[in-house]
Symmetry: C2
Subunit: 550 residues, 2 copies
Amino acid sequence: MSPLVFALAQIDTCVGDLAGNAGKVMEYAARAARHGARVVVFPEMTLTGYPIEDLALRATFRKAAWSQANDLAEQLDKAGLGPLYVIVGTVGTDHDGDRPRNRMVVLHRGVVWAGYDKHFLPNYGVFDEYRIFTSGQRTVILDIDGHRVGLAICEDIWQEGGPVQEMAEQGIDLLLTINGSPYEEGKGHVRMDLAARRARQVGAPVMYVNQVGGQDDLVFDGGSFVISPSGDLLERSPQFIEHLGYWTLPAAGDEAGCQVGPHAVMAADLAGDEEVYRACVLGLKDYMAKNHFTGVCLGLSGGIDSALVAAMAADACGGGNIWGISMPSRYSSLGSKDDAADLASRLGARYEIQPIATEFEAFQQMLHLEGVAEENIQARIRGVIVMAYSNSHGLLALATGNKSELACGYSTIYGDAVGGYAPIKDLLKTRVWDLARWRNERARQEGKTEPIPENSIVKPPSAELREGQKDSDSLPDYRLLDQVLSAYIEKAHGRADLLADGFDGDTVDTVMRLVDRAEWKRRQYPLGPKVTGLAFGRDRRLPVTNAFRE
Amino acid sequence: MSPLVFALAQIDTCVGDLAGNAGKVMEYAARAARHGARVVVFPEMTLTGYPIEDLALRATFRKAAWSQANDLAEQLDKAGLGPLYVIVGTVGTDHDGDRPRNRMVVLHRGVVWAGYDKHFLPNYGVFDEYRIFTSGQRTVILDIDGHRVGLAICEDIWQEGGPVQEMAEQGIDLLLTINGSPYEEGKGHVRMDLAARRARQVGAPVMYVNQVGGQDDLVFDGGSFVISPSGDLLERSPQFIEHLGYWTLPAAGDEAGCQVGPHAVMAADLAGDEEVYRACVLGLKDYMAKNHFTGVCLGLSGGIDSALVAAMAADACGGGNIWGISMPSRYSSLGSKDDAADLASRLGARYEIQPIATEFEAFQQMLHLEGVAEENIQARIRGVIVMAYSNSHGLLALATGNKSELACGYSTIYGDAVGGYAPIKDLLKTRVWDLARWRNERARQEGKTEPIPENSIVKPPSAELREGQKDSDSLPDYRLLDQVLSAYIEKAHGRADLLADGFDGDTVDTVMRLVDRAEWKRRQYPLGPKVTGLAFGRDRRLPVTNAFRE
């Protein structure tokens, strides 16, 4: 028995793009073969993309996916890649009319060979798999050149029982799992700890291949790896980029691993701020690419939120593809306009100034608004202008709201909330500042221009919708607010827990009331990347009509 | 053994309003007792409201619900209602840290007595119960005065096995099921057919108590009933209103049923148009009541969509609480303005005219828009005005889009799509016309003014955003379009199916492309009542980023 060379193909698929995804498998399989791989492993639901949601329920889609798998097996064979074991994920059914399954297949010598169906179907958080799939019941252990390779799909290794336990009892040489594991901060270490436990349980290394890329409100960070039963990392692919890694399963009795095939890489650990920043950029970049946008437009207020979003956009699509629009009103300070212009110049973005006084007066002659209504109309005039740029130039409009605002409803629906994508919607305000500082620091380290004007970082936040307005007029100080929000939303602490956390009763009541009342606005907010353990959206499904108040 | 008098308490609960829901139970229990009932039965999850979604995951909520059940049992007892068996639904856990259960409890003589946990957890369509609950495992048969009453909750009777089969084997005198079964057209008959099958299976009548009322995008139509094993309706409560019905389970050997307690009612079957119309009105009415709105505002274009929505609003909250805003542009025909004024006058609505020329010119001086961007800006100016009314007067803004428009993306996001609620979003355009005609016909029958101007019904539909524009310039004829949409969306037919249905290839391709590309707009669309077998929203969860094209 000879050592077995694996390639870990950490690719970025697109939901529904069967031909495109298959093309990418061809390309990576060819590269892997050239480098001497015997087995190349792709992420969960490679051919269909992931997650496919209710597309799984469409018979024509399942049929097309199945044809694609067969075509791909033939094409691989014709291209001389028949001897390679190509492991991909797709949607499957055993018989017409069956409920679909989340399936792994092996393409080998021109045919679709073997099949393993995901056993544990996650249906919590952002996942809806029990809704669309039925569970597999069989444990599958492949024999490849005498090596026993046990198969699992994502959630299967998060549970102690089921297939993993059966494989532990039957004995395997490698536990191979393909994944579509969405990013959240710190999850990489959770995955590795878990995989190490499973490796101990089965007494063999675990190979964890994850997809990379953005899909609507999810970002997949890649970070594929191989880990030994003693918890040693044997390979680690980088995060947030496509990557073809290699690792060799030694022959029996050759535990040290003779050097066959390419070296395994060992990507560095990213610091928290960088990881989160890159997740947001990738989410935006892939939303643009997969929905055929090449440029973005957004309002530049001179504040930190729009500055950070613009910096991310510059990293996603290049500063020259950004249309930054300054839309000053009578309440906009000179400093704000300067900061917006400074930002655009630093990024190399297009910059246009569209003062809103004329429109504001036109509406006010008719409507004579006061108070919040008068504030909102300014934000909505800006929303109209941003969408006009989007419509006229085919640009993706970006909403610049952060998670603290979204939580408290501190934004104007159809105003600053307009857009097709909202890159920082899962970042609390204090994190927005952190990432802005990190991004500037990174630029300094690289000897480049800091993208974000210092003034946008240090000045007190204001919506500038009335004279002398500051966010702190309406909201608790952001340091405090974000702590309460984190406890209330991400940790789901109730009122008593929050008091026990040490927050004062007035603050707790104010924040809980604001959050609970803003659900209707959040429902109409654009998609944006989940980067925390609990994001707004399908991760947290609360009724709009909800009288519960603690 | 004496006959057992049941009261069917078909009430309208509010999600999260534990005290309010308990108060309603007290009130109905007292009425039931006064009329000689021994058992009073409330709908699924009475105390918490239904569906509670991720509120189920909040420990403080579950604790509060449990306290409420205990308090209520005590209060009933103190009010002299202790001897009554009060059957309510709530959320339950057996131990701290357990996953929650969808639970039925019996309140009797001051204590929370017996408990049955829902066995089958629906997780398809609009349902997410597997996400939030864990299944009950025990079958429960109550002994009430010697009668064997088997318990089930909603989905439990939609499955042949499980508790129903066990009860069939053990023998019962009545199968009692409490429900939160959302309305869709024609579902009443489906429920009765199903219940009749179950009654045959268990060899005893089935009592089906359903909730009534609107909750976000769902409407519960009530229509509670009792059906015999031979399929005879023994009681039938009306749809769309709260109701306390009665039915007596005869003593053994007295199958004919001696007359004890009040007579059972037998509500009439509603015709399809009336049923759907009333569902939309109840959805709107309850959204308003439960979110504390007393009035609405909407743009009145003179077209059929805004006319029907206004008529529904008048039925939901009274014409005097409607603010109708006519916002003519240079492209608005005189007829449109007249029709809008006529509508407002028929409904007794407030009516204000806000021409948009000044705002349009103000934007155009700055932006010089053409084509679709120029069309959109008119719709968005109107959106700003509608929201200004909403903000200034505390009104619920209504979006007037229909399902055909929503399907094809034939609306302006942040324009005519603004609002907190969208009463006709699940009605295809042809159904909008049908319901308008039905509503006028009903008015004629009652000798009242027809609410909807005939001209709004008969004229060719137009968005009036450019000279001489007609919907038919951009879309297939609505009769044809709606057939294709119905097949593609509600029946999930693929391209080949649609061709086999007899539609021509160009139409099919046009419609599929329009529907698939509009997903991002639908995500940001307001909530509105589901009335068909498949509504947009959580009923049909498709990715925005989705390259699949047949």
